[in-house]
Symmetry: C2
Subunit: 631 residues, 2 copies
């Protein structure tokens, strides 16, 4: 009976995986696609386990489809020859661990590569072309059919007779995005019959059931209305998927296949659906060690054909209460949950809007407390923002929630349009800045300050502690225009003893020679650490946070900073008109040396510490910077 | 027989309109909605005629619907009482002249207001809430259903039992936009039965037939698949529209009405459809005087009931050849038409993409010359940009065309996603900057520099003459990353005698005391004018253009500028990291006084000269600025 290889990782846990050699043996011995898919399942969850995070549920649901698609594209050369390069990618991209397990099966990644997921220089948290075998960057939802059309157009330009299939996998939650529906008619117009979209229809999106989030109506009608062929199959049966793909290839129009799957497929206790109103427990994140060990057993037996037996860990499944989740470290997210609840209690004009990230943007409590003033719009940021606009024109104060990248870049024109109405709309974007760095740059917002700061009348806040969050939202609630709160989803620094004194400098660490000016919990924390370390080297370093990025420096703040020899602005975002700009303008003509230290270009992917160090923004890099620029 | 009032305008033309008093008389005498709609048609084209520009075709097609909707919302109080405030707006917004004619009919605008269209402080080129009776700002396409949902949610929060209808009018070209389809499922989820969307289905979008641009498939199936009721009617018959609206109100789900109309309805020679491959001639723009006079006669007879007679001007209809349009003044648009044709002749890897603005972004010639390397994607910017991304990954060089506002704000995340692939995609955005100022800020791009400049690796160019356009595109074609050419759609300044010397300062006017640094044809032209005028006041002013906004200043340029007493950066965009930023950084520590002069906040609407003066950016304001800051 074959057994997975075991690697005693630096985590102190045994990690199990099937080597490529073993995978090839399974194929020679059984010719069974399902066995290959189940073997890849183990490799996917192991990659996630070592990474410490990753999207488990969708990785498990999608693997039968993935293996079948590759078998379809390779034909009889499957696993015999080097992949011939037919185009297949996942538009949702969240299933990257599964996609990497597939690349490993195909021989495009080595065994060791599986253990580089979400590490600097390794496999990105969402697919990027930097990895061999990844055709395009995904992770931002909705772009897949458009991207497939670009590949097809290129194939036809190279060879007008080409009808090589291009297969894109979509998520069913992803169908919320307007771009999916925008992109379908053009495929008909161009006659792209070689386009096959296959939906991993696992029925659960980020928070909960797709039907509870945003029901998509009669998909068959919508798809056929766009002129596409609509097909259905069991997405957990790779042979059936293969058959339907062959059928699709005969079609003279593009094909849209809805493959029914189960989120967490393969591990019974991950397949257990949430009750109504509950959250799905295995959307993302690594498993507790005991659960990982159990999952390894279950997935191994699926491959070796041993009786699965009954889970003896059923009773140890993690408890999870949507209202009071356990084991959540304090972060600006948990702070925001509190503050938002207080705001909605005291401000009856406030309406919270949420784009399927209730649990990740802190709206889950008010969702239950104020259902009538809560709108779950699904993964439909443009729709959400435009609805917020007319709510604001009607006298309400909408607070729009999403991740900062999605909110500020998917709905930019809608935010601009609202801004031209001089109305009070408050945008709250989480995952702002470098960290969390593991999901990759589709989720790391570093362009948000430049973009939002370019929109008329927009006030941009970046609080670093509870008192700054409370101050920022109170400012936003009394401002007759739009505001953006960029929220770092990391632990806050200690709250100020009093209320922040306006938009200006908030003293965090006293010092006399070098001043660090920053904002947000991540760099405020690193700056405080750096100041303490620099003191040991005899440099007296002050740290200030500045919760409003868009404000010019006051005369009082100018006076404060002009007493230092050097002022360094630490910016957790790409170059923008923010701290450094304000400091430079304020100190022009003085003796003070003014520097910017922040993010340039595309942020690195990987574990937080290594990514911070890579960008020179961890405390010890900042100390070096200070020492190099000491007076 | 009633006759329209005549106003001898300052244009030297007689302008005809029906006063509100006359409109009320028609209603009392006839009770005929069609008569009212036809009377409003005259007022709409007259408003456009005095404004000098405006969207004629869609204004004429939409008026029967508009009058019927208002009759529906007011019931028996129609034209008897002050409008009760039921919500009706046009999502496409391009039909603003018709909407204003409706507001005039309803008594919400006075007779004189009709003659303020597209003038500073008057009626904006696209609707804005600043005008009484306009519920929300429109002009950017696709947001209408989302906005209607926000209004309904607000009504329900005020009164949970409210089912007051909210009516939004869409364009059929507008249905290309993904947000339309994104916004429909949420209306079902929320049970918004009072939502009525009515499509002014005039079958022609910006360039030509909707069916030739991007066929939308089986609308009934797509709409019913989203759970909405689908109805059809003759949109040129207001009584039928009224009947179908009453039917929609009985529905327990949202209703989507396709009202068939004719672009240019009411004036036979505007109704004449283009032949295949031709462009519709009356999408926007004022009429030649002789045509206006004829249209007045025709529309008057429609109201007075006189026999229409045959047009004696049939033979004088404007000739219009899509390939070699006449009477087009030279502008960066016509320059780009030439340059793009040359580029596509010499660079076979280039593919041009166009979002239904072939004629307005200069692609119409290559559309015919290189049909296989031209993609008309419809009004679907997100789809267009994501297709461009994978074309680039496949070795092609896509050049993506749209207006700068739409391109940089509707597809920001898609542009970012492409940028993270380090691929060569070239974005070309027209209507960049203050002018043309008449369409209003949905079309005036002033945020584009800040937004595009925030995206990783993006080079931002703003050429001001033919030689700078040629240089910018050659740079973009050899750069391994994304570029943005912001194109002012105004006459270029004189071309440089040689090739621009890299990204740096291009001397336009010699001078020794004050240097003006700018880019783009509009402000380069004003700066040159200002320098000449300042010379008369004894101030020696140099003018430099700088075709690449994103480049830091070279040492040589630093040296050049350090010889002046004052350097003023003139920026045809909102504050961004551009000229002033670069100049400030380069001249830090020198004696030179450095100033920025540019656009702050939301750009004003109106005629070019008054808007330039309003923002202090016309030559004479610049002279004042120079005199105030002379050494």
């Amino acid at each position: 009976m074959p057994q997975p290889r075991v690697w005693e990782s630096s985590l102190g846990t045994s990690l199990s995986y099937w080597s490529r050699e073993q995978l090839l043996e399974f194929w020679r011995d059984t010719g069974d696609l399902k066995t290959l898919a189940n073997a890849c399942r183990l490799n996917a969850i192991t990659a996630i386990q070592y990474a410490g995070s990753g999207h488990i549920g969708t990785s498990l649901s999608s693997l039968d489809i993935m293996v079948a698609v590759r078998r379809f594209l390779e034909g009889d050369a499957f696993l015999k020859e080097v992949p011939h390069g037919g185009v297949f990618f996942s538009s949702k991209g969240h299933d990257a661990p599964a996609y990497y397990a597939l690349l490993h099966l195909m021989g495009q990644l080595g065994d060791d590569d599986l253990f580089t997921l979400r590490r600097l220089g390794g496999l990105p948290g969402h697919p990027e072309t930097i990895t061999p075998g990844v055709p395009t960057n995904t992770g931002s939802l909705g772009m897949g059919i458009s991207k497939a059309k670009g590949f097809i157009k290129a194939q036809r330009l190279a060879n007008p007779d080409s009808r090589d299939p291009v297969v894109v996998m979509l998520g069913d939650g992803e169908l919320n995005e307007g771009q999916i529906w925008e992109s379908m008619p053009g495929a008909i117009k161009e006659g792209f019959s070689e386009l096959i979209a296959i939906v991993d229809a696992n029925q659960i999106q980020s928070d909960t059931w797709t039907e509870d989030t945003l029901p998509m109506g009669d998909l068959r009608k919508r798809v056929e209305g766009s002129g596409w062929i609509y097909l259905e199959c069991d997405g957990q049966d790779p042979d059936q998927v293969l058959e339907i793909l062959n059928q699709a290839q005969q079609s003279s129009t593009p094909t849209f296949i809805v493959a029914s799957t189960t989120k967490g497929a393969g591990v019974p206790w991950m397949e257990s659906f949430p009750q109504a109103g509950e959250y799905y427990k295995f959307h993302s994140g690594a498993l507790a060690p005991v659960l990982y060990a159990e999952a390894v057993q279950i997935l191994t037996r699926l491959v070796t054909g041993e009786s699965a037996g009954s889970s003896n860990l059923e009773s140890s499944r993690p408890e999870f209460d949507a209202l009071t989740p356990k084991d959540r470290p304090e972060s600006l997210l948990t702070v925001w949950e509190d503050v938002l609840a207080e705001v909605m209690a005291s401000h009856t004009e406030v309406v919270a809007l949420d784009g399927d990230l209730s649990y990740d943007t802190g709206t889950h409590r008010v969702r239950h407390a104020y259902p009538e003033r809560y709108l779950q719009t699904g993964i439909a940021e443009q729709d959400m923002v435009s609805m917020a606009g007319t709510l604001a024109l009607s006298g309400h104060t909408p607070i729009v929630h999403s991740f900062a990248t999605f909110l500020t870049m998917r709905a930019t024109e809608q935010i601009f349009n609202n801004a031209t109405e001089y109305s009070r709309v408050i945008y709250v974007g989480f995952l702002a800045g470098l960290v969390p760095s593991a999901p990759g740059f589709s989720h790391q917002a570093v362009t948000d300050v430049g973009i939002m700061g370019s929109l008329p009348g927009m006030r941009v806040f970046e609080p670093s502690c509870r008192s700054e969050v409370a101050w920022a939202i109170s400012e936003a609630l009394s401002y007759d225009g739009p505001s953006f709160l960029r929220m770092g989803t990391v632990p806050p620094v200690a709250a100020l003893s009093g209320t922040p004194s306006g938009s200006g400098l908030q003293l965090r660490v006293e010092g006399s020679s070098v001043a660090l000016v920053t904002s947000g919990p991540l760099l405020a924390g690193e700056a405080i650490g750096a100041a303490e370390a620099a003191a040991a080297d005899g440099v007296s370093v002050a740290v200030f946070t500045r919760p409003e990025l868009s404000a010019p420096l006051s005369d009082a703040d100018r006076e404060i900073l002009s007493r230092f020899d050097t002022v360094i602005s630490l910016e957790n975002f790409a170059p923008a008109r923010a701290h450094h700009h304000g400091v430079s303008e304020a100190l022009r003509g003085t003796h003070v040396v003014v520097l910017r230290w922040g993010i340039e270009g595309i942020p690195a992917n990987g574990q937080p510490a290594e990514v911070l160090a890579h960008h020179g923004l961890d405390a010890s890099s900042i100390v070096q910077l200070i020492l190099q620029n000491r007076p």
